[in-house]
């Protein structure tokens, strides 16, 4: 395709005619299926697997459409289209999820083919955002920008997206299957809480190699993934993943959906036996058929646009001066930015968690604004994070204050990344058909309670995660403080877990005692945090104090009213 010389979209894979044809064929296929459903030729039972294959759920009040944002990367054009969809087909907003997708909660079945067609127009789709297949591959929100990165994981994330798309053997697995990939020694993708977690780094000869974790997951049985292999060569990446997923497809349980995840298989067989099965499959494969040749990788890499990083020599000094001159801006830079590999640039995190707001909810106008700001400040490139925030990856340091002023003016400048206000919450009983309790109101109350930015910064790094039921979509097991909604005789109660983490210090939170009624939960957490402030050593984060002292010191605070 020699005519295809247009500028590549920065940070993501540029579709060509073949990719576009594929997506529009899928839209046509789904339009036909919806037609059969609306005409009554398909029963709801028959239609269900077909709609799920296109990301369409039936929730409490309406259909919900989950749109894929592959490895969290999108362009301003795509964000504007999402704004349009929110405005035209939903109630003016969308919801960023922890799996780097966006959900629309109020969709009409009849509109869905049109929505998918609009998405196709900007090279987006909802393929494999649902169903028992390999789901949207997630990756580091600072990919290709972070100073600590060893290898840009997006190229391989795109290769995995392609490989897994309508994979003939793996579209009807025992259960959904999630892969995350990181290229940094600092795990920002929760690699050990995925069915497969890949950590990429350069091998001895400089070519990429992968450490492979398998069998992690949350849900009702949270399990930390185990290392299956070190230093998997790039050319064997697909062959090895095929082998792992084949073993899972053949041996994963199907009799009980709660025991169908690969984590249960790995536990049942034991890592050694699981590894033997994978190795046996790997050994008998015709590896040439699956070899990931460097030429293929380079071909995909060439379809990614890269930012032309060029900043004035004094950009960093200008930022220092701006920070000195404005304490509010200085605070936001402290909390909401991440070090860039280029000294003149920085990555900015836009908090989608305003004080008292609903984590992850964005209005159509905010989407448009984020798109404009991405164009003005970050090469039109936008990243959705698994913490339900948005990142502008490459902002020139001397222009950071201008960006902040615009965000702040629109209510998107909340300085709370990594702090108490940066809560992850699932949709809970407000939308989700599986929920036992509402997650959103607790998140809102906590965030309002700790709105004071000085207080938040004083408390420091703290991860609060909320799920409305045992399925753990809000990652409560992986929160420093986890909150799980439970139902007791028709009343909402909340179970607290402490000590979880999804980062390098990965851990599953421990339940500290009986669940609390709704109206006591926020107070109990406030007492918990007060206790930490009293007990902490200088410079110690909540999780460190908790690990040093154990649950007992905090239990009293939770259960003894002040």
């Amino acid at each position: 395709m020699s005519t295809d010389t247009v500028t590549r979209p920065v940070g993501r894979y540029a579709y060509d005619e073949v990719d576009r044809t594929f997506v529009s064929q899928r839209v046509a296929q789904f339009r036909e299926q919806v037609g059969r459903r609306v005409a009554g030729d398909l029963t709801e039972d028959e239609f269900k697997p077909l709609r799920l294959m296109n990301g369409l759920y039936l929730q409490l009040h309406a259909y919900m459409l989950r749109v894929a944002v592959p490895y969290g990367m999108m362009g301003s054009d795509q964000m504007r289209e999402l704004a349009h969809i929110a405005r035209t087909y939903d109630r003016d907003y969308g919801h960023f999820t922890t799996r780097q997708n966006i959900q629309f909660n109020w969709i009409r079945l009849e509109d869905t083919p049109d929505i998918l067609e609009r998405l196709a127009g900007v090279n987006m789709h909802a393929i494999q955002t649902s169903g028992n297949c390999i789901r949207n591959v997630t990756c580091d929100e600072f990919a290709g920008a972070a100073a600590d990165e060893l290898l840009d994981p997006r190229i391989h994330a795109e290769i995995l997206r392609q490989w897994s798309t309508l994979h003939p053997e793996f579209s009807f697995l025992p259960r959904k299957f999630k892969i995350a990939i990181s290229g940094s020694p600092h795990d920002r993708v929760a690699a050990r809480f995925h069915d497969i977690g890949l950590v990429a780094h350069p091998g001895p000869d400089g070519r990429p190699v992968f450490d492979v974790f398998v069998g992690g997951g949350l849900g009702r049985t949270p399990i930390i993934g185990v290392k299956l292999r070190d230093n998997l060569p790039e050319e064997d990446l697909l062959a090895y993943l095929e082998a792992v997923v084949r073993v899972y497809n053949a041996y994963g349980r199907r009799d009980n959906m709660y025991k169908a995840r690969i984590k249960i298989l790995v536990q049942a067989l034991g890592v050694e036996q699981f590894r033997e099965k994978v190795d046996a499959e790997f050994a008998q494969m015709n590896r040439a058929d699956y070899r990931l040749e460097p030429a293929i990788v380079e071909g995909i890499r060439a379809r990614f646009g890269i930012p032309d990083l060029d900043a004035p020599a004094d950009a960093a000094q200008k930022l220092e001066a701006d920070r000195k001159a404005d304490a509010r801006f200085d605070r936001w830079v402290r909390t909401n930015t991440h070090t860039h590999r280029h000294e003149g640039f920085i990555s900015a995190v836009v908090s989608i968690k305003p004080d008292g707001g609903i984590p992850g909810d964005v209005t159509a106008d905010q989407m448009d604004l984020i798109a404009d700001l991405a164009d003005a400040f970050s090469f039109g490139e936008i990243r959705v994070t698994h913490m339900q925030n948005v990142v502008l990856g490459h902002v020139r340091k001397d222009r950071l204050r201008d960006l902040w002023l615009r965000l702040d003016g629109a209510g998107l400048g909340t300085p709370n990344i990594g702090l108490v206000g940066d809560i992850i919450a699932c949709p809970g009983l407000d939308y989700c058909a599986l929920a036992n309790a509402r997650s959103i109101p607790i998140a809102q109350k906590l965030s309002a309670r700790f709105a004071n930015p000085e207080l938040q910064e004083n408390i420091g790094n703290l991860r609060i995660n909320i799920s409305g039921c045992i399925n753990a979509c809000g990652h409560h097991h992986a929160g420093h403080i986890g909150i799980l909604g439970v139902d007791k005789r028709g009343e909402e109660f909340f179970q607290l877990t402490l000590g979880g983490s999804a980062e390098n210090d990965v851990a599953i939170g421990q339940i500290i005692g009986p669940a609390l009624p709704e109206d006591e939960t926020v107070d109990a957490i406030a007492r918990l945090i007060d206790t930490y402030l009293v007990l902490r050593h200088e410079g110690e984060a909540f999780i460190e104090t908790y690990r040093r002292l154990g649950a007992a010191s905090f239990k009293d605070a939770v259960y003894a009213p002040a």
């Binding site: 697997p49 053949a250 379809r303």
Partner: protein, 163 residues
């Protein structure tokens, strides 16, 4: 139950072994438990075997040279183990005979079936052949190689489906 091949209804020349009865003379599909019995028949009579989704196809290795058909089963469309079985029969065991999908696969899975090496489908749903045919034709691009060794598209692992 109609039999589909390449999106068209075709005649089924195979008989199924009936429980408790002696095997008939012609082409017959036996359940795995009766494979020995089938293999003991005169060599000229075509033999097929039907396996459940929990069978490791490697157990068929010694019998495969004598088998003209392997039937794999989808107890529900959600149970995708037979995809792996079919693919392994082609890829690891180099089986070149008929692979027949039975049970209740969906028309929308047709392309997956073919790409994993299934050649015929025997299903209640085959009464609506047009839907199967359409499912077969609607997508012309794939993003990964398959046992059919489709023509590569050029970029990455993409393939053109069909002719």
């Amino acid at each position: 139950m109609p039999l589909l091949e390449n999106g068209h209804v075709t005649e089924d020349r195979w008989a199924q072994a009936t429980a408790g009865e002696a095997l008939p003379d012609g082409a017959v599909i036996v359940p795995l438990e009766r494979l020995e019995e089938g293999l003991a028949r005169p060599k000229a009579a075509p033999l097929g075997v039907a396996i459940g989704p929990d069978v490791d196809v490697a157990v068929l290795r010694p019998a495969l040279p004598r088998l003209a058909l392997v039937a794999v089963n989808f107890p529900t469309f959600r149970d995708g183990r037979a995809f792996t079985q079919a693919r392994a029969l082609r890829e690891h065991l180099s089986f070149t005979g008929e692979i027949r999908a039975t049970g209740t696969p969906l028309p929308d899975q047709y392309e997956f079936l073919l790409r994993c090496g299934v050649t015929t489908v025997q299903t209640d749903r085959a009464e609506d052949v047009a839907v199967w045919q359409q499912a077969h034709e609607i997508i012309s691009i794939a993003y990964q190689p398959s046992v059919l060794h489709e023509r590569p598209q050029g970029l990455g692992l993409r393939r053109f489906l069909g002719k």
